[in-house]
Symmetry: C2
Subunit: 201 residues, 2 copies
Amino acid sequence: MSKGTTTRRSILDHAIALASEVGLGGLTIGSLAEELDLSKSGLYAHFGSKEALQIQVLDHAALNFTEAVVRPALKEPRGAPRMRALFERWLAWDRDGVLPGGCLFVAAASELDDRDGPVRERLVELQQTWIDVVRVSVEKGIESGAFRRDADPAQFAQDLHGVMLGFHHGARLMRDPDAEPRARKAFERLLEAVAAVRQLP
Amino acid sequence: MSKGTTTRRSILDHAIALASEVGLGGLTIGSLAEELDLSKSGLYAHFGSKEALQIQVLDHAALNFTEAVVRPALKEPRGAPRMRALFERWLAWDRDGVLPGGCLFVAAASELDDRDGPVRERLVELQQTWIDVVRVSVEKGIESGAFRRDADPAQFAQDLHGVMLGFHHGARLMRDPDAEPRARKAFERLLEAVAAVRQLP
DNA sequence: GACACAATAGAACGATCGTGCTTTTATGGG
DNA sequence: CCCATAAAAGCACGATCGTTCTATTGTGTC
């Protein structure tokens, strides 16, 4: 791997950590360069603009997210186990992942939700694929008979996302130690609502 | 009302609108002054520091929120009607209130959730009183017999907050027109779960 | 209408922002 | 080892940031 790619990756690693705390807009070339013992211009040359840096930060975080949350969860069997893996791995990612400020996308979502431009558009794309992962997982659960035929996958996706955001708010901002068990309880109730009635043997 | 109080209020009105779009950190004295045809120093003199401005912005928004959401809802009868009023009025406040960027506290929460200092502390206080409004409303519902005795008010508060955040994400960032009906459905399910079994006459 | 004082303006400060240009240093294939 | 090229540094730019100071304008009171 060439030198440039190595340092670029190192920059992005630090950048996603920093952005998870101060937001994508709070990211500054100067502070990032200082943290990495690089010159501003040296760092800047890797991206060409702050906007390009922000987009690559989102992409880099999405890659990490896929590896840490999505891919392992999709190896679980369809139905409840897969949903539970998605949920539990997201919890772990937000709670004690590499990002000190928790899930970067939670911060980016409310930061960019009423701004326009390419950064917002990229975030929407990434968030849509995440929503789709959940939605499709529910659909597969229905097909395999684990979930009720009348379950609403899109509804489940929004509900689950709400549980996650409620957890993030309770745990991160309010520092409520009960936020996590409550999130688990809420998740289990969502799951019960879509679970197929067990066939008596 | 003295001149100073008038302009101060006008400043705060514009500031909460601006902050709902760009965040509390994105607020700048310069842009705010320009929008109000004031000099930077003239505006600045009203607050003495940006931190003080941010705190007053939060307080001002909380006052508006109480008037628009909490107070009217608390006039509704205990139980489901009051909960529904809290929820519906919050929806309206986030959807088409005076703030172009939606609920300011949603933006502030994920912006400040891993920063320290007096602004964060003030936000936590305000958010706690909101959470408490929901929690206590459930408790009153239990006392009045409208809700099950084994309902968990704190759990309901976090769940409801999650539904709201899920709606905000779906509607604001994803611009999904189905986010609102889904949020309503999620709310009704929360309500059903705590509703007392109806007594047969 | 004069006078105390509140409200606003004006100008400047050091710092930092994103960005461009030029030069130096490091890398790696022939 | 040479040398084209990649990577990084150095420096400067205009703009804007929050903040402070002093001066000017406005308001309300006896």
